[in-house]
């Protein structure tokens, strides 16, 4: 009987962890597919960039800021019609992926932007002096040179998305956050809540540590 309870608890936590990881990693991946090019565009079309296009830069800058200024909980609820149109439901982990992507892509764009801006202007100028096209500069200079910083940025992005995903419990999104809210908040099971929070802390630690290790390995300046 008691054993059965433990088993159930462990199973629930296991599912929660898997759902959280699924939401986080899947939406991170898609958010990077959108955010990385967006960040590159923000840098490249800047007035001091390699292919200045000021009006375009301003437009995407404003859009990015607009989305970033909406609190995630509000966004979570307000994109529900869109989620239903794409996924068919607003419940479950897959449904939460949509607001997660919308919220994190602009965030990632800014992270990527700041990483790419760290690349020495002189190195870009050197590439230009060799007749590099803007495309070659992006793929052979900007991104490879900023790689360590991009990696650290990705660890920050993933952990942020994980904490966003925890909020999805409010709309029945599944994952550890869902458990924490349902058991810890609605049913006053403080113990359950503490366990989920502890697991979340652990996951964040692991992601951050992996990111740092990967960065150190890739950086040839150290």
């Amino acid at each position: 009987m008691w054993d059965d309870g433990i088993m159930k608890f462990a199973q629930m936590m296991g599912t929660g962890i898997l759902e959280s990881l699924y939401m986080t990693l899947f939406s991170s991946l898609i958010a990077y597919v959108i955010g990385l090019p967006l960040g590159v565009l923000l840098v490249v079309t800047d007035k001091d960039g390699i292919a200045p296009l000021v009006w375009f830069n301003k437009v995407i800058g404003v859009i990015v800021n607009l989305i970033r200024s909406v609190p995630f909980v509000i966004l979570l609820i307000s994109v529900m019609p869109l989620t239903r149109a794409i996924i068919g439901t607003t419940l479950g982990s897959t449904a939460v992926v949509i607001p997660l992507i919308i919220a994190s892509a602009p965030y990632i764009a800014r992270l990527v932007e700041s990483s790419l801006k760290e690349v020495d202007k002189g190195v870009i100028e050197a590439a230009q002096s060799m007749g590099a096209t803007p495309f070659q500069i992006i793929f052979k200079v900007l991104i490879p040179e900023a790689m360590p910083s991009l990696i650290i940025g990705s660890a920050i992005a993933v952990t942020t998305i994980l904490s966003y995903s925890a909020m999805s419990g409010f709309v029945g999104g599944g994952g550890l956050g869902d458990i924490a809210i349902r058991y810890g908040y609605y049913r006053y099971e403080t113990g359950t809540m503490l366990v989920t929070v502890a697991i979340l802390v652990l996951i964040v630690q692991v992601f951050q540590e992996l990111g740092t290790m990967w960065m150190k390995r890739s950086d040839k300046r150290l």
Partner: protein, 338 residues
Amino acid sequence: MNDKPIVTLVGLGKVFESKNNKVKALEDINLTINQGEIFGIIGLSGAGKSTLVRCINFLERPTSGSVIFDGADLGKLKESELLKARQSMGMIFQQFNLLMQRNALQNICFPLELAGIPKKEAKMRASELLEIVGLSDKAKAYPAQLSGGQKQRIAIARALATNPKVLLCDEATSALDPTTTRSILNLLKEINQRLGITVIVITHEMSVIEEICNRVAIIDQSHIAEVGDVEEVFVRPQSKIAKQLVFSGDSHIEHFVGEYKCRIIFDGRTSFEPVIANMVLECKTPVNILFADTKDIDGKAFGQMVIQLPNEETGRKRIMNYLNMNQIPYEEVKDYVG
């Protein structure tokens, strides 16, 4: 060296415009740089020399005038043709500007990759170049593991990878210590002689010009103040800025205002005889040496001395006469020299 021009600047001007002001960085620059020479462009900081070198390869687009490189007007080229032309102009920088995430060999391969040369071929060429710059053993080293001089050697190898006709050097030795500077300058000289590449050197150091250049242009306040053979400019600088650069340290002489002074110019011919001593013995008139600066260029000594003449008229005239008779170039210095 022949006199076939490789780079010609015609009426070149560059104006930087910002919201509320216009800055003329360059105005009416006319220069012809010949194939195979080492051409120096010197000026104080802010004179416009960095802008000038960037106009030569169109990293900065001139706002007026034109740049003729190897017979083609760069301003009239299509973007793709301009990028192609840049592959014929190597460039090195004060801060080396190597790719930090690539090792030495990969850095040298970089321009070859841009030019679409197959990897294997590029690697072979890069190894060859490493040998030219004397760093074959550093192929796998990353820039962070190299010294300043080594980094500049890698940068030179990288700039040479695409077999350029011209090598632009933007303050290439300004971040290096004197010994390393000398070795980099020797390497540039060697490259110029061995490969016949025209070298354009931008610097604020007269010693760099002395060491390797055949001809020099002095740029001051956005204009070319003087152009000529290095020897000629060193012996008889015409412009104020040239005098300032050649006779550096002149400012001290200000304190002697009111006395008669004259500057004796050493042009290689007269410096092998004890000019001042002979003059004093011959004229039996003492002089006071206020300032002296002589340099050795190509085995001849050049430079100047500023001497204070006696106030008494006959002695002074005797000295002038002596200088005239011995055809020693000199000029009277009234107040501030320059």
